[in-house]
Symmetry: C2
Amino acid sequence: MNTTIETILNHRSIRKFQDRPLSDEQISLLVKAAQAASTSSNIQAYSIIGVKNPETKQKLAELAGNQSYVAHNGHFFVFCADLYRHEKAGEMEKQEVTESIESTEKFMVAIIDAALAAQNTAIAAESMGLGICYIGGLRNNLPEVSSVLKTPDRVIPLFGMTIGYPDQNPDVKPRLPFNHVYFEDHYDTGEQYEEQLKEYNETVSAYYNERTDGRRSDTWTGQMAQMLAHPQRMYMKEFVQKKGFNNK
Amino acid sequence: MNTTIETILNHRSIRKFQDRPLSDEQISLLVKAAQAASTSSNIQAYSIIGVKNPETKQKLAELAGNQSYVAHNGHFFVFCADLYRHEKAGEMEKQEVTESIESTEKFMVAIIDAALAAQNTAIAAESMGLGICYIGGLRNNLPEVSSVLKTPDRVIPLFGMTIGYPDQNPDVKPRLPFNHVYFEDHYDTGEQYEEQLKEYNETVSAYYNERTDGRRSDTWTGQMAQMLAHPQRMYMKEFVQKKGFNNK
């Protein structure tokens, strides 16, 4: 166990920050960390927008479902899937690249690239004693978020990340049982599968029970079924296609 | 600058490994690191398959385009988007979750979750002195890869990761200019955009030139246009939809 792995294992999302902005040096180091991540065939199919303007932050906080920590933090990053520069590369080189750029394959590549870069930023930030929280809530309203951030076609904001000096110290949340997530040699849907989910339900229940003096005792399958029974963001398919992704 | 950030900035893909398997303790720690990553609303929409069987590794190496380091390394992980356990949760809780599970939104969530987990594994491995390489080549033939790994519907292998003790010491590859990837407050497609790509072309050219005694002088836009002019993996849209993703 080294300090990097300790940092990784100690991750908790931080949703309350001190009123203390990150320095430009810190921001620059976090972006460089993002850029150091692996990228499929060096395609670098992502961009990062750092939001400093308080009005823009406030607007994004509202669009993300009134999450105040989107406005109040040390810095707010938005990670985007980006194939705009690749369309440009095609133009510069007089090659027809649309078919490729609009493929589901490249949609996946751009999402993976952006996520790998983001996670580097997250780990780098946490190693500096900062806290982070991913903001998937930006996807509640991507047409508006895109317009606020002026992203062109071929660019989709995927999620935000609030970063800052923590003003809270939440617990690490228990994850699914190791053997439910990790398989050897092949996937296995045998009878242990449902047992593991029930085991995790008990773990999650105990976690909430302890933290709420028994007022809350959710299970994981209960939380998931409840969430998934109410489909969210069903505009997404049409939206990403309109932006030039996931069409072919 | 701390050791974690040094590890992150020093990333190079390693494609040649010593003949020395990872220990079960190392593997377990790398999976725990993966599980510690952020996940959208605790959905944990990914699974990891660790491949130990030499025949399976050989088969996957061939399917990934005869990349020998997929067979010869310290360990080989496959990261999968996984909404199978969420379908199960729906059944256990007698809730209808198909519409949600089959949405483009949840397809994105599962890809992001898997990528964040994978990057934690990558950084943890590198912090232990190991080298890694992502294997997107698995997506050359996902129907066969899925069958080898016995993944059910609602599970898609996204990419592999070779890990092991490095037997080479490649250079760190130069990335796109900082200001081309990082924007403040909003995206900007102004005239600097193409200039930055030209600047990067010179950097990339110089990089190859130096390393090949002038035999190679690719540019980035040239590489990208060439790659994208030949659409790859165009079966993907139909494949992921058949597996129950990205339908709604």
